[in-house]
Symmetry: C6
Subunit: 305 residues, 6 copies
């Protein structure tokens, strides 16, 4: 998060204008076939205009492209802050498809996804929810942290995630047949799984799955340096600290320090904050209040800075 | 799910137009008597226009036809992804009846099934829910995963599933007498049954029941090959992997790999993805995060590919 | 449920027209005094036009008539599918009174019974619920499976079921004094009673009660033969199977096979389905998934067919 | 409940007309002072027009009159069916005050008591609930089975049941000062008290309390004979049966047979039903499904009939 | 509660007229400074017109005045019926400030306190809740039994009870800055505290607290005599009975007999009811159904009467 | 809280007028760059007009400024009443940004934060919630005690607290891109953390964190003296008492006495209340009803006064 551009450099949706001439956006990489099936104009705001920074870790880009080519629903698994959301944005940009993201939560109802009637001056009118809009107009619909949603949310996507590819709007008496470009992507963090909160088998079996992990040392340092503006050496030290914390997962920490947090710490250092203070504020204080854990993490910080 | 037609080949409701001349739809197979009792035009969108691919496993087609001929309510039991929904679509097509499908969930109210008043420019107006529409106009109403619904949903179908064949709309003060073509079909997965979630005896005893299982080896391979576009040998290997996983049900897996998942894996392979990667993405990763189970399933994959 | 008339033979409310000349309806059996007190026309849809088939098992018809003559509220107790609903329909026909049936469930509110304000083009207007309509216009109000309802439902009937015979519509500021023809009838299945769900003593003590059981062997076979169209010998065999299952109640089965299920099985046999298949589909599969219970019931089926 | 007059003899509110000339209503017994303070006409429907039959058991009438004279809130305690509601109706008639009865239940909200805004053609308008109406216009407000209500109901009566005698309508921004005739009466059955459901001390301490029990043998028989139309000997036998059942309370029965049930049984006998059948239907079957209890109660019935 | 004036003598808000000439209201006692800051006319109905009877027990009047002078929020702690509400009314009268009382309950929402939009003929309009009205116009807002309220109620008062003295109306997009006269007062009964229901520390630490207890013997007798109209000797005996009951608190009684109950008993005695009957009805029967406790309390009654 | 100015001295938002000439507000301290990006006029009411009194304890001001310069979301941790809210107000003033504060509670929905449709004379119109308003117009949005909110509240801020900086309004079909000035700040008290109520890791990892504690002895006394108007010696004694109570945290007290409470006590003393009474009322009585704890705290009070 560099100072001079914290609202400009990375913000793929911040303007929906087509890429400017001279842009680095590799439009030629997009499958030509897909460009022909242009989604409706109603989704312009959901287009990813500029290429998001994404550093591929394995063959996830190719696998996703294969899944998309037959429109398999895809499930992204991995811990928070390791790049799942960025990956979807990157793929949406690469495929040239609009992306509609929904942050799931336990109070979200099926109507929030599918749509509802609103009262208008002329009586009620129907308004598509994000899922219906994506299915109707042809977007990738990304349900972030889907395991947080109530069952009616996850069940609502069933007819869109098997061979039927339809979305019945029972309240409206309409059946939406999914646009050829439409695809469902969900993410969830297996570490959160509990007996109370897990996807049903009938949901799981509707998705192909990709596992995400924190990147390898060198790659993660490269990402941190690129995103925060610190030098590679500082970034490597930050990654060392994160790796120590990840070993403490399950031994006092619920989660290790994520790549996102390293970028936060790097951004503070790039702003001139002393590394020790930056690490305490961005890496240690947020994730634990346990004195022993704080000591352990503070020790890791002082080892590298 | 073949590449060139993932939105065209199989999608029985994607156009509600009558079958074209030269179509392979065996209209002659339909009982002539039923064709005379044409349901109202309001259900055209719910007609299954082209014959869905369905491979009969036993005498389920004949038993269903007998049950339909006396309009017995029918309950389909079996694991997820073994073809229950496809079977209902096939029967609806074969009988020439419209099909209204409702994905049940625990947040669905009786009003979602039966109907409700909507506020209009001219005050409130009644809108039939899917069950009322099916009963009024003469469709097969398919309540998918009915055990997920709340009791008021299941109780709402009682008067339609005994000799009375009526649906009282208490809020509207109307009694719908079921159209002669109307039938109720429900599905549920006995594996999900728990003490908390089971159908009441007074509901169960209103239905004749058909059991569904995964098809036998040869048949399942044939289905996977047909639906995904892979060769029969690859399909057989996929079925072998699934069979291994089904033996692990109850010993670390909640459910085995379903036919649907095999079709997903086959589709990826048909797209050019290496079998190992395709199986990991489509068969293993989605259903378990347990390292031991993953090892066991990965071993099964490497045995056959 | 015979094929040729599954929507015509038995469906007492399917036309509200007066009985045709030459009808077998024994109008003369009705108490003359009651015919004079004609309920309002608003209840015509709720009249039982033709005599429902009902085979009296004991003196329940006479006891009910005595209770109705002093308008005692009546409670029908017995297992599912043994004929409670049919009995109420028969009595309503015999007494010449309209019948309003409400299938109770745990999500039904007192407003669903009593009534509510609806928003109209001219503002809100009151709409009587089924209980208020029955009390105002003079019908028998039958609350099916009342134990499933929430307390506010059962408490709402209190002032109608003691000497006051009134229904206060608190939201409307009106007190309905029950029409002279009005009576409350409730049913429930003591087998479902649990500590959580039982009627309160203050509710129970407002009702006279009639016990219902499955009919005796010969009578039940006669009913099954009449309703399904199978011969008496087949019907007797079906009853034998049911009796075996009823002995298993509490020893692996929650409920035995009901008369209704036997009629289902008989209907399939009358349609030409082989008895073994018909019994499996209509008697065994619906009520249990336990392998041992299924074996026991399948054995009973093969004993008699 | 005599046949010829089940809707006429006892039904104090069935006509709100003033007592006819020659009526037996002892208007002279009413305190003259109270007659002067006539409540508003809006409560005419709530007046008790004719003297309800009430047989005083002790000094409860005098104590109630003293409490009313200083407008103390009164709590009536006792089992179901022993005459609490009838007593309140009698006192309302004797004092010449209108009576508004509310059957409390756990789904009733404070708004149901106090009032709410309704949507009208001209926007929202306020509608007093029964408690607000009683307080504003001057009625006795009787909350039947108050312990069933949620806390917000019982707390809503607090400002009306201490020295303030006001009802703040927070949603309307109005404070109703209670009419001089207004009084709150509540009933509850201590037998139902549980740890979960009891009145708060701050509610209890706002009421003077009267205990109610079943009447003594001779008195109860007299009441049963009067209300049902059977002879005194039959009535005495019915009371004997009830007394046996009351000894079983807590030893297999939740409650004994109430006076109301005896009147039900007597009414059936007066209709010509044989005493044994009448007692089984009206006394035994409603209150228990336990075979041993039924045997014990049936034995009591055969002892006396 | 004396007979001749139960709706006139004590009812501070029953007329909002200014005190009549010759009134005993000691207007001169009010701090002159406060009289100048007159609250808006919208609060006239909430003014305490005549001096409520209040017998100071310690320095609570002075402490409250000091707290009010710096507008500290005040918490009144003590058992039910010991005079907390009367004290607030007295202080409001003494300070010449309007008093808005809210009886808290667990179904009250933050909107009930803060305000909401109502639908009008001209669309929605905002209506201040009692807290917003008090803050805007300058009243003492008294939240009675605040511990009964849900957390959103208690959290809603936070910004009004620290140095900010603001009330953000999030739904309206307005920030009310508290009128200089505004103060929050809450009451609660520590005896009710449970693990489930207690104020949060962040709420408690926003209040100065005053403890309330039952008055000393002589003082309590004086209060009972004054309020009920009985002689001092009778009043002293009533207090003796109450004191015995208070020793039983925690040993079979949840709460002892309150001063309010003694006034009830005294009022009945003043009406001519025999002391024994009056004490049973007003002191013993309301607070316990336990036979042993009743015996103990009845014995205390017969000791003194 | 000094007498003469309890509504004037400290109340940063009480007038939104620009600081008067001669004001002590050090406008020059504000980063010049920020002054140029003026937020929309709709936020004028949310500007902090005059410098709030804030005594920096460590480098928290500098760290916050660094975090704000890259718009890192910030989490403030610490006990109630230690100055977290004041710190945010000070920083908002120092940075010249509007401040929108939301007091979180468990009944607050995502709609309360994000916005909702309101019914208007011309139908529904959208109204931004405080979070949407802050994001759209450019304010610091401070979610006080965020751990009290339901998950849907905390999840709603996710897209605003990572690199995307967007707020999807699913119900409106709009994506708000955060204004360059926008920042999210949350507070919570780690002492309240329980298994049931804690932030999810995916929320925690989106924030940089600052720890807050009670100030050191001398500094806290200085603050108390400044805010309450008592002399420094009295203030020191008050701090001594607080320190004793803080040692009892976890040994009978849930929380120690906060700085805010000391200011309350000091204000009462400055009003002329005797120190002992002031301390009992403002320090001891509010936080505990346990007799032993009260004795311990009262002893601390008498030690210093």
């Amino acid at each position: 998060m560099r100072h001079e551009d914290y609202v400009r450099t990375y913000a793929p949706r911040q303007d929906a204008r087509p890429a400017r001439a001279g842009s680095v956006m590799p439009a030629a990489h997009r499958p030509a076939a897909d460009l022909s099936a242009a989604p409706a104009s109603g989704l312009d705001a959901y287009r990813v205009a500029r290429e998001p920074y994404y550093r591929a870790l394995s063959d996830e880009v190719e696998l996703y492209e294969a899944a998309y080519s037959v429109r398999l629903p895809v499930m992204l698994k991995g811990p928070t802050g390791c790049g799942k959301t960025r990956f979807v944005e990157y793929m949406a940009w690469k495929l040239g498809k609009p992306l509609i993201t929904v942050a799931c939560n336990e109070d979200m109802t099926a109507s929030d996804l599918v749509g509802r009637y609103l009262l208008d001056a002329n009586g009620t009118r129907w308004q598509d929810g994000p899922l219906a809009m994506a299915a109707r107009l042809g977007a990738i619909c990304y349900l972030d942290e889907v395991v947080e949603a109530r069952q009616d949310t996850t069940v609502a996507i069933h007819p869109l995630t098997d061979a039927r590819r339809i979305l019945p709007l029972e309240k409206k008496g309409e059946i939406i047949e999914a646009h050829p470009d439409f695809q469902v992507v969900i993410s969830y963090n297996p570490g959160y799984q509990s007996l109370m909160k897990d996807l049903k088998q009938s949901t799981k079996q509707r998705f192909a799955a990709l596992d995400f992990h924190y990147p390898e040392h060198e790659v993660e340092a490269e990402i941190v340096a690129h995103e925060s503006g610190v030098g590679l050496e500082v970034a490597k030290n930050l990654v060392h600290i994160a790796e120590r914390s990840r070993n403490l997962k399950g031994h006092g920490l619920d989660e290790g320090i994520s790549t996102r947090m390293l970028i936060y710490a790097g951004s503070l250092i790039a702003q001139g904050v002393a590394p020790l203070g930056a690490c305490r504020m961005a890496l240690v204080r947020p994730i634990t209040d346990d004195p022993d854990m704080r000591d352990a993490l503070d020790a890791a910080v002082t080892t590298y800075f």
